[in-house]
Symmetry: C2
Subunit: 134 residues, 2 copies
Amino acid sequence: MKIRELAEKTALSIHTIRFYEKEGLLDHRHVLREENNYRCYSDEATERLLLIKKLQRVGCSLSELKDILQEHDTHALTDLEIVEWILQKIKDTKHKKEELDQILGMLHWMLDYRVASMKDDQKELVMTKIQEAT
Amino acid sequence: MKIRELAEKTALSIHTIRFYEKEGLLDHRHVLREENNYRCYSDEATERLLLIKKLQRVGCSLSELKDILQEHDTHALTDLEIVEWILQKIKDTKHKKEELDQILGMLHWMLDYRVASMKDDQKELVMTKIQEAT
DNA sequence: GTAAACGATAGAGTGAACTCTAACGCAAGC
DNA sequence: GCTTGCGTTAGAGTTCACTCTATCGTTTAC
């Protein structure tokens, strides 16, 4: 598959995909060159880019991803090391969720506070909005 | 309180605090100048900086925070507008939590996959680690 | 066969959020 | 009174993750 198709499949820009390759996030298993020098991507490339997108959202930087994916690819890490990395990520993710819960609590508190100081007719309007939102 | 103390209380750097002020995230209610031109911070400053830190983690940019906080301060926003902003943030936050759940699912799947391919003695070691981590 | 669309490259530019530096003035401890 | 440390400023530099530009070659549709 050519770069445009991959870009559509992963919702990344063409620029970004080339940039990731340059940064070492993709290798020969993901990209090859055709005779005309065009890049040719495997299905694995799609998988990897989607994985990168996901892990980015748990706070992995590109350079961390590069390291862990490369080490994983070259089997430079033992199973134990990989398991430990995963466990750490699970811990981080749970922590992030807790933070979000805290923030949700705060937002709800802010909402109650605002609503309490409103006149009855506005209060009703807002209540329907809150119903809609939840 | 002087800048160093505020930096310690908020776990922000002195540079960052001055940077936030320059960006319009703090005003006269938070900072005043002493005769020697040193900044003098109120307790409200601590509150605001901690609030900024929290909201940043739900994906608010500094410029968005500047806008919403300034409008809030100057009562340029109606109660309804503020409620709508809060509702939007609640929605965003819930969405972020769902994403994290997805990622947690993926990480657990990765973990199971790894553990399945391990030898029994290593498996046991990993199992205790997993117990510890959860 | 030619124009439009697609692909390639090197390298510059962007925006967000810091982070640091140099050069200076005040302050507190000895 | 001198050193050390804290505070000030303007402005430069950094990092991250893109994003875009210019210039070129290739492919495809008409």
